[in-house]
């Protein structure tokens, strides 16, 4: 069974404690602690010692999606202090200005492919440039972003083919025309299935679908349908 969890931000925005409680109640084994806005990062990091994270096999931190230029070095310094935990730090490539400070995170830096509003990091070709600059970084594959950029799922296929060896976690949701995360629709489930075999069974799936507590179980069931375990490839 694939490890599945939620992003705290998807369930409870900046209230990571409440989000964590909802995820724990659903008996998930993976969690992404979200600080999508700059002001949320330090409170989250200061709270790490006091959060009850037992039961989670996989934990990652989602860094802010935008930094003030003067704040980028401060944030990366503070995040680096948490590297001893060995938790991946998910970043949006368009938020990074000074790549040298992020290069030091090595494989813990987890670069996410972007939605179509962003100027970089949307396609395999654009990611190739980023990973050229950050050669050790890993990949957070956002399947909703990839589908929004290319509903044929060719780009999703190309990203997984080119950077599958870097794959650390997968973001799962439907990304609508306003680039907002939505629960999975039937069409998005079918689209995910097209590349499900390229995602190894042990890679955690982090749901970014904004659902209420009573919808979490159903959403997880949809994700299991969308991304079933890879089958054995039969070669004639």
């Amino acid at each position: 069974m694939r490890p599945i969890g939620f992003s705290t931000g998807a369930l409870a925005y900046a209230d990571f404690r409440r989000g964590l409680g909802m995820i724990r109640a659903a008996a998930c084994v993976a969690v992404e602690l979200s600080a999508l806005r700059q002001a949320e990062l330090f409170p989250l990091l200061e709270s790490l010692q006091s959060l009850d994270l037992t039961g989670f096999d996989y934990i990652s931190i989602h860094a802010p999606s935008q930094f003030d230029s003067t704040w980028e070095a401060v944030a990366s310094d503070r995040l680096r202090e948490e590297c001893w935990r060995n938790w991946p730090i998910v970043v949006h490539p368009d938020a990074l200005s000074d790549l040298s400070v992020w290069r030091e995170f090595g494989t813990l830096l987890c670069v996410e492919n972007m939605d179509k509003r962003k100027p970089i990091g949307r396609t395999a070709r654009e990611l190739d440039w980023i990973f050229g600059q950050l050669p050790e970084a890993s990949l957070c594959f956002d399947i909703g972003h990839a589908r929004q950029c290319d509903p044929t799922m060719t780009e999703a296929y190309l990203i997984l083919r080119e950077f599958g060896s870097k794959l650390r976690q997968v973001h799962v949701s439907e990304v609508n025309t306003r680039s907002k995360h939505d629960p999975l629709s039937y069409a998005s489930i079918l689209a995910c299935q097209e590349v499900a075999n390229l995602i190894p069974a042990n890679v955690p799936l982090i749901l970014e679908t904004p659902v209420a507590s009573d919808q979490i179980e159903a959403e997880i069931a949809k994700v299991r349908k969308a991304l079933p375990l890879p089958r054995q490839i039969m070669v004639a």
């Binding site: 060719t154 296929y157 070669v235």
Partner: protein
């Protein structure tokens, strides 16, 4: 061989030929697209692409060429698309020698839905088939390619991923679903030649006749070769592995997309370059096509063919010269496609005939 030489140039140099009309037409097309891109800058978007077809897209642009364009929309419907479409029409007009064709296939707004969903069946109108297949065979986005690329990929996904024989078969890996539609389109063009002749009381007969024998035939030929390349571009071992692995099917689609980014002449030259023993056929095909473009590039000859009637054609020097080119083109293609020394002959019998 200069670095970055096109396949047509490589063939030309290999055969010690001089295809100056092809060269000029290719440069003119590049210039034309660059000028259009500049004029239309900012009018397209992520959900809309301005797509050109015809000689401009094929890299065969001459002074008398018209500009066939469409506004391809792959996104939310927006009443402002109509204003956008009119604005594009105004901007394209100074570059065009004449108005878009009378059938309404070009100079119009096209939504992606029918192109992708209506393949075959009653709703796949002549116009829809034409638009869809020209998108694959001879089109280029001028400016932003987002919508264009998505639609092309989706169309190819339909033709290839739904073709059971392509993946499950054991013989040639030729996408029969797509090849059948190319063949249908080629026959439709031939039938429509007779239809237009009747509808327009013979007006434009000669130029249309020569174009059918040359440029229309070329796009069918390039489509056929693009289908053959699903087989030819992989080794026996790769075919066994790739076609049996569902996770690599998108790789095959992507490869097909790359083939269609080449012009029809490039596709033909690329296959001919593989077979040294087909030099004579290559010479016939490209010498004649160069001659045909030479006639089109000459204002007087082109104008003459545009007004020539069927009755006058038998004794007309320009028409007869063009006809000779078309015969040589046909003979070269027959030698090429029915070549017994390569797999081309057997593939043509299996896919091009029955």
């Amino acid at each position: 061989m200069p670095e970055g030489a096109t396949k047509v140039e490589q063939l030309e140099q290999g055969l010690l030929a001089d295809w100056s009309h092809l060269r000029r037409a290719r440069f003119a097309a590049e210039e034309g697209k660059a000028e259009l891109r500049k004029a239309l800058d900012g009018l397209d978007s992520e959900d809309t692409s301005i797509v050109v077809s015809g000689s401009l897209a094929r890299g065969e642009f001459t002074a008398g060429s018209d500009i066939d364009w469409t506004l391809l929309i792959d996104g939310s419907a927006d009443p402002r698309h109509h204003d956008l479409f009119r604005e594009i029409g105004m901007k394209v007009k100074p570059f065009a020698s004449k108005e878009p064709g009378a059938e309404g296939t070009f100079g119009s707004m096209v939504f992606s839905h029918d192109l992708i969903h209506e393949i075959g069946g009653e709703d796949d109108t002549n116009q829809n088939t034409t638009r869809r297949l020209l998108l694959l065979l001879e089109s280029r986005a001028v400016g932003r390619e987002d919508a264009y690329q998505r639609v092309v990929r989706n169309i190819l996904n339909r033709y290839l991923l739904e073709d059971r024989g392509l993946w499950k078969g054991s013989g040639h890996r030729v996408p029969r679903f797509l090849q059948n539609d190319f063949a249908r389109y080629w026959r439709t063009m031939a039938v429509d030649f007779a239809y237009k002749l009747r509808k327009r009381a013979g007006k434009g007969w000669a130029i249309r006749n020569i174009k059918l024998r040359m440029s229309r035939k070329l796009i069918y030929v390039s489509g056929l070769l693009a289908c053959y390349r699903r087989h030819l571009d992989y080794s026996q071992q790769d075919r066994t592995i790739i076609f049996a692995d569902p996770d690599r099917h998108k790789e095959v689609v992507e490869h097909m997309e790359a083939v269609f980014r080449e012009t029809p002449l490039e596709i033909v030259a690329g296959v001919l370059l593989r077979y040294a023993h087909l030099e004579e056929a290559a010479k016939k095909v490209f010498d004649s096509y160069d001659g045909f473009l030479g006639i089109l590039a000459d204002d007087q000859s082109r104008g003459h063919l545009e007004s020539l009637t069927e009755d006058q054609a038998d004794k007309d020097e320009i028409y007869q010269r063009a006809r000779q080119f078309s015969h040589s083109f046909r003979d070269g293609l027959l030698d090429f496609f029915f070549d017994p020394k390569s797999e081309l002959g057997s593939m043509t019998k299996n896919y091009g005939v029955f």
